[in-house]
Point group: C2
DNA sequence: CGCGATTTGTGCGTGTCTTCACAAGCGCTT
DNA sequence: AAGCGCTTGTGAAGACACGCACAAATCGCG
């Protein structure tokens, strides 16, 4: 329990002894708040109002207050939130007070980039091992880590107490990698492969599919285009669309 | 409905003339269904039941049926859904019947990987231009595309009718890039930079933050650890955790 | 010491999402 | 042609999330 409270509150014992169970939507927003708070702290602010923080995080202030209220009452009415205290609380709740070790499987195109992504290290995660199935890649050194063969995955995961496994392999290999991660005791997986993983209860999987994001955007593009093509709706384009962006274009205004 | 069947249309009618406005949650799942359907089609299946497809997509079958019902009635009771027809419908709704052009800004660590990611091309997106602010990188050729300077962004975006902008720059540069994309007429942005973008109404932004995903997983790790530390809950580990996977990690098992 | 300005924390109405359960519909078999 | 099994599509209920609006609490100032 790193919770050093140097000058702070000797009154208050350990602040958050029990882990409250937060709504999932709240959990997903806490990292965003945390990032905004770190920015504030770097700029010398020591308190912040919900309004300010909400704007910085891109959410409604009422939502932010409700989210933070789930952690406990760490604000001061009439003043705002203590930035440093709030950072501590959120980091504690998110389990970031201890550095978690990450194993990255698949050092292809994407995996290579992830291995070099410093956003992980700067936010409390340490990539502890790299794996790949391709013998050509095994032995390669990336960012000071040697790529191991995926056959060693389970053993190494156990030995190194890997907390989180990141799968950046082709879809065809992802399930087997997941199985090995689970066999190695890993209970959290971040999956970049475009496929559904089946894992036993108690193992959390989050999926990031880059193409899916584009497809969602594509839908909105499609919808927006079909709206501008039907001027019936009371939706006038605010900005004068550049050029002759065909209003009633059969192929949806791509023609130009 | 406007069911205007253009002379070109063969047997199969164009089916969905008007774009239904779908729940956002449904839109987010459609790409997953689509991927599962393509897998089925490759394996020779021509019909599929909601149960099967739901399993393949990792969702509840009732949810899947309700999602698909928003597109219209394209299933056959007692039989299931026609795979090819459903693919067509989903692709149409998602606006994938036309290839959308993508501009990628920031060819650093992550951007480089995205530029080479074939998952975009295989799913109907074409990366049409690369940009970076670093003069050293400008002129470099990646995957057959020459990196241009970000100053050209607005102009090129307009000229090439870029539909989607992908931001893979450091956070500090992201807002300015977004502004330039908007100025170039781009109305959909996929943001990998860890910051909030402010854009005018009518512009859609989706954010992917790799570190946030890890932090969410970290929370669940933390919660799971605090649960195993309190055996009061009726939650017994199903699988005998392999080896000496520190069940009572001193740093994690708070109370004990 | 009291008052007003300010900001948090939250009760509550509203809307969205999820899930269950079942009627309606389809094809196959007899 | 009628019955039967199977699957879709959907009404309804529950769960969850959101945002308003306001009471409660705190600070600063006269």
């Amino acid at each position: 329990m790193s919770q050093h409270r140097p000058p702070g509150a000797p009154e208050r014992p350990v602040a958050v002894p029990a882990l409250p169970d937060l709504p999932e939507a709240t959990v997903a927003r806490l990292p965003e708040y945390l990032r905004a708070l770190h920015n504030l702290a770097e700029n010398g602010h020591d308190t912040v109002s919900s309004e300010w923080l909400a704007t910085a995080a891109g959410v409604n202030s009422a939502k932010l207050r409700k989210d933070l209220s789930h952690l406990g009452s760490y604000g001061t009415r009439g003043v705002g939130y203590d930035v440093a205290l709030l950072i501590d609380q959120i980091e504690y709740v998110l389990g970031l007070t201890q550095r978690r070790t990450v194993a990255l499987v698949g050092v292809g195109n994407l995996g290579h980039a992830l291995a070099g992504y410093d956003g992980f290290a700067t936010r409390g995660f340490r990539i502890a091992a790299l794996f790949d199935a391709d013998p050509v890649r095994v032995g390669e050194e990336i960012n000071g880590l040697v790529v191991r063969h995926v056959d060693e995955l389970s053993r190494v995961a156990t030995e190194e107490s890997i907390a989180i496994g990141v799968i950046a392999t082709p879809a065809a290999a992802a399930q087997r990698v997941a199985d090995r991660l689970v066999a190695g005791g890993v209970t959290s997986i971040l999956n970049f492969a475009p496929c559904v993983l089946s894992v036993p209860d108690g193992v959390d999987v989050r999926k990031v599919d880059l193409a899916v994001e584009l497809q969602i955007l594509s839908f909105h593009e499609h919808r927006k285009a079909s709206l501008t093509a039907l001027p019936a709706v009371g939706e006038a384009p605010l900005t004068p669309l550049p050029g002759n962006l065909a209003a009633t274009d059969p192929q949806e205004a791509i023609g130009t």
